[in-house]
Symmetry: C2
Subunit: 692 residues, 2 copies
């Protein structure tokens, strides 16, 4: 390929900057970088995933790499121990190469899943997201539908033009005005007739059988494409939940109303920042917004590829995409300015962005397919919440319901057919990922169940895949917290009670405060072991306090109390693994009868599917958006009071939590023994997930 | 520019085809062509205009060139005399070069105007097209309007998103639903605020003063663009009349409702075929449709450039284009399949094409500007007729009116507020251009006035520009015909009466029939002189017969007679130069009192302007289209009868033409003497246009 010229050797430009080759293990990727680029930048360019939760600021300590060969230069950091530095550990964002390198990405930075979540893990997501929602199944009338028509042949008495002939037939049973793009008018004569060309002669013969694909675009129905013959049996849609952490895609058969396949992967934007604020800050950089958009579009593409292979349905048959997500994620997806989301008075660029051609933002499905983004309520209550309301059906019920989305933001909605109010708890990502010392997302190696014996000396854990523990995920953190509390290892104020079991505690190298050893280093797939720090506990208490207080405030703002709540819907990817009793024990959820508490799983993707399957339901999404009132808690004086009272386990006011047992430290004979046989943390069977 | 390699000389591919250089005079253009390409193709590629009315079929004889140096090869043709061939004349489409050539384009093939109509000629078009129409001036509410708004600053109590804030304000006094593209939602935060960027920091400060440009798109109003501050004083539109022969553009100030400038040029598609059918045939070739579209888009660009220079208004301020034209021209413009227009049952691809982004078809105005094409009634009654009805106001009147468009197709509309019927006479281009032996368009050198003394021996002519005669245009043909008839040189059956003045006749070299010498070769800018052949007379009689019969048929079909017509509107670029008495004399127009006959000039561009200036009027265009009934004359048995009766001068039934005087041959004392002093054809003063 390419021509070679004889003559002087070509010079590199600029000539003074040397470049180095970096070889990444275990992926066996190689890339050359210019002087001055960090290892994190190199990894990004080589498409090697390195956890970089703070986006390369040097403040999260998650971008750990091991330099196996070669020289690097950079500052030392408190995130690495002496021993680790001796073994070659570096923070990828803080060092630049000084020679060619061989670099290994250790498991805790890899966290698998970057190139898609394979096998079991994917099934797990499917499981979360395919479950039935509380809402009734809609009558099928998808937002993009295929209509097969047989149009009568034009005659001298009725020479109506092709375009008007088609539009007339389509308009017959419809109120919505129809629109048709020029491209379609150009193709229509060919779709309606057989054409034979011979040496400049064109022979037309009428056929009239045609399938029109029509899609809702605000107040009009647009004819998106026309095809000869009857293709009305092949019509698919993609429902997306674009989470800050995870992107979930469901392939929906719009003719039959069934989900054909589901897939999920991590949001690649994680390497630009773990949370919304980190990514908005990243977007301020030149081309930052484009990087974010490209990352999510690439993720969607990966998911579509996965769905194509598994379902044997071509992406060209996907005629629409409905995307749910929080306000920032949808702004990133559409390339809307996100900066104002984080600045008072928190005004998004758009709350109901127009439907656009999916191709316009680079998503490769049918070139005429429409991308709908679900309407957002405000900067902190996004299209995922609109979807959640829809999926729960709470906006149509007589009884009052409370919806809590345990995502990164902790959005809460209260209401029924007569009123809807929403707020965001600004909970922060205390359940998983970056702000937890050993936090990780719910994937291979993540601890998701914890049991601690009443006297605190026996600990058993299991991981999602039954493999060796790499870190702890959100469900695991809530479990651990409840168990630590019930075993008396943490007091009501959230302070470790080291005396109760000194052997399980050590001092944290970071802040010299005690930390609880969940899995010692020798037994974990992580050289630091798995610990829960005092800071983790404080974070979690703050987060659960914020959510509980926000819910209490919201319920109170309309003159109700928790007792009036007939249904409490819990949304979020925690899914059915989440233990209601543990959630109540730590005071995250109000102490309601368990039959009133419903886990609705990923209500975001469920709502997206509902909106896709019936155009009236899509319209209902917009009506929900218009009905709902957003409560800004920051300006509610009661909120801070409620929050402070909720920053205890389970609460300062124990009367609000009658069902929570006394911790073991207070009543040594009680405690929460595991339901199944308990297994010691050092029993190898436990780590393979065989028990619990 | 470019690198040169040492080494063997590069070979041309394919190596066996020699190429020749062709130098065109008087334009001094040079181009190299491969063997096998005709001189017509060479001229097209060199952007040298050569009249090629049959599109290169060898059947029009209009693509005459003079080979000054070099060798060509090709068939001989009956369109050239022996003498002409001796002098180097060739038909460009019939010969290929055999050596490098120097070639001259003679005046009769040049017909000026290809690169735009300069100076006087342009003024002439302006004059045609700026005249007042019969319709009242509309209240200003243009289809694309600029709205200046001052939006209140968002607060914590009202953090409404930017998009919804703008749409809410715009929706205030409007019923039409609003739409907004993603691009606009992307820009809006910047339009509403002042932004200061410093090293990754972004400072936003609210301004709120914004101008939104909104345009009608079918049932919705689309926000086309947003600009900071108040730009509502600068809003322009382009009204286009895309004729088969001429393209006219008016630059309209949409704020003041005035026409700022007008420009016109020939339709460059003429080199692909003189009439609609020729061009539709051309469109069947591979890329034929694209060639036609490119040609008209380039013409529009040339006109815009002209308007920009003269008005000092930038094309970026043109926010909308409204194009009128016959069905084929609008199909070519939009790239719609035109082939079905000419095939029974004459079904166009689209009758009301959707508004499109002008940029989508390559017109460079404001990138967000909308191009509206006026709705068409059928294959032979286009958007120019809808415009004409609108401009005349006949569809709103109590009295019955008849509208005759003397364009190439001869469209006729009859009606009032209660009914509207239309038909097309399929007149053919008998008034000008290709089918007339010495026909040419109304430009420099075209004879437009003819007077013949009652005894037939004295003839005076004048040309549009007062220069030497090159050919004869439509107005001139009608004049000549009436004068020949009144002087007794043509009988009622359309046969030349050679005996009345043998000196003015000669035998045609083509068909050996007599032809009338209007200007002898020595006095004309055309080596053949200017003649009117027997075939020309027969053509004209057929054409006027077709139009008259069509009008009669249409009037009759609703049970009326010409006497019931209160207003006869004559549309077409003939404008005020057309002599009503002459039109009646030859039986082209019904013999109505002259105060009922109104020349409304270019009603096509006038209608386009009306549609542009008021969105209700645009909507009215579509209602006209829906109200109107198209009469297919081809299936009306009465039409052929009426047509045969009308193929006489003025008609078989003289009672229908009481005001037409007896020809001189019958009453030697009468005749139609010129109104002003008559001047002999060989008086040099006449040819400078000083008299009449
Ligand atoms: S410390 Fe390196 S990415 Fe956060
Ligand atoms: S004869 Fe050459 S173009 Fe018509």
């Amino acid at each position: 390929m390419g021509l070679r010229c004889a003559g002087p050797t070509p010079r590199r430009w600029p000539p003074t900057v040397p470049s180095f080759r970096i070889h990444f293990l275990p992926d066996d990727q190689e890339i050359s970088v210019n002087d001055g680029q960090t290892l994190l930048e190199a990894a990004r360019r080589a498409n090697v995933y390195v956890g970089a939760i703070c986006g390369g600021e040097g403040t999260c300590g998650k971008c750990r790499l091991i330099v196996r060969e070669g020289e690097v230069e950079g500052e030392s950091t408190e995130f690495l121990t002496r021993e680790e530095i001796r073994r070659g550990y570096v923070l990828a964002c803080q060092v630049v190469p000084r020679s060619d390198l061989v670099v290994e990405v250790p498991p805790e930075s890899r966290l698998s899943g970057y190139v898609g979540i394979g096998g079991e893990d994917s099934e797990r997501f499917r499981d979360f997201t395919l479950r039935e929602t509380a809402a009734p199944a809609p009558r099928l009338d998808p937002v993009v539908k295929k209509v097969f028509l047989t149009l009568p042949e034009p005659t001298i008495d009725d020479p109506t033009a092709d375009q008007e002939r088609l539009l007339g037939a389509l308009a017959r049973d419809r109120q919505t005005p129809l629109q048709m793009g020029l491209k379609i008018s150009r193709q229509l004569p060919y779709a309606l007739r057989k054409v034979v060309r011979q040496r400049g002669r064109v022979q037309w013969s009428w056929d009239g059988r045609v399938t029109a694909t029509v899609g809702v675009r605000g107040p009009v129905l647009e004819v998106l494409s026309v095809e000869p013959g009857d293709t009305s049996d092949r019509n698919f849609g993609l429902a997306l939940d674009i989470g800050t952490t995870t992107v979930v895609a469901h392939l929906v058969d719009l003719v039959r109303g069934t989900t054909r396949e589901a897939a999920a992967k991590y949001n690649s934007q994680l390497s630009f920042g773990a949370d919304v604020i980190g990514r908005i800050n990243y977007a301020r950089q030149p081309h930052g917004g484009e990087d974010l958009q490209r990352a999510i579009v690439k993720d969607i593409d990966t998911l579509i590829q996965d769905l194509e292979v598994r379902s044997q349905i071509a992406r060209g048959d996907i005629q629409c995409i409905v995307a749910a997500g929080n306000t920032a994620m949808l702004h990133f997806l559409l390339g809307l300015e996100p900066d104002l989301i984080r600045l008072s008075p928190f005004t998004p660029a758009a709350a109901s962005p127009p439907p656009v051609r999916a191709a316009e933002i680079g998503i490769r499905v049918n070139p005429r397919a429409i991308l709908y983004t679900l309407p957002m309520i405000g900067s902190f209550v996004g299209g995922d919440v609109t979807a959640g309301i829809m999926a729960s059906g709470m906006h149509r019920a007589d009884e009052v319901s409370l919806l809590i989305d345990l995502g990164t933001n902790g959005e809460i909605v209260l209401g029924n057919r007569d009123f809807l109010v929403a707020c965001a708890a600004s909970a922060g990502p205390a359940f998983e990922g970056g702000s937890v010392a050993c936090g990780m997302r719910a994937t291979c190696g993540a601890i998701d169940t914890v049991r601690i014996s009443p006297n605190g000396d026996r600990v058993s854990v299991s991981t999602i895949d039954g493999g060796r523990a790499v870190g702890i995920c959100g469900t695991g953190m809530i479990d651990a917290m409840a168990q630590l509390f019930l075993a008396g290892l943490v007091d009501r104020g959230g302070r470790f009670q080291v005396d109760r079991c000194p052997a399980r505690f050590q001092l944290s190298p970071e802040d010299d405060r005690p930390e609880f050893i969940l899995v010692p280093p020798a037994e974990a797939e992580n050289p630091r072991g798995i610990v829960i720090t005092q800071a983790d506990v404080e974070n979690l208490v703050r987060t659960k306090g914020a959510i509980y207080a926000a819910a209490a405030c919201l319920v109170n703002s309309v003159g109700l109390s928790f007792a009036d709540i007939q249904h409490l819907y819990i949304a979020g990817a925690f899914g059915n693994k989440l233990d209601v009793a543990n959630c109540v024990t730590i005071g995250l959820l109000p102490d309601l009868p368990t039959d009133r508490i419903h886990f609705i799983g990923n209500s975001s993707v469920a709502g997206a599917k509902l909106a896709m399957l019936n155009e009236k339901w899509m319209a209902e999404m917009y009506r929900i958006r218009e009905r709902i009132t957003y409560e800004e808690l920051m300006v509610n004086p009661r909120y801070m009071e409620d929050f402070l009272s909720a920053c205890f386990l389970p609460h300062t006011d124990l009367a609000q939590f009658p069902s929570v047992p006394e911790p073991a430290s207070l009543t040594a004979s009680q405690g929460a023994a595991p339901a199944a046989a308990s297994v010691e943390w050092d029993d190898p069977a436990c780590k393979r997930g065989a028990v619990l």
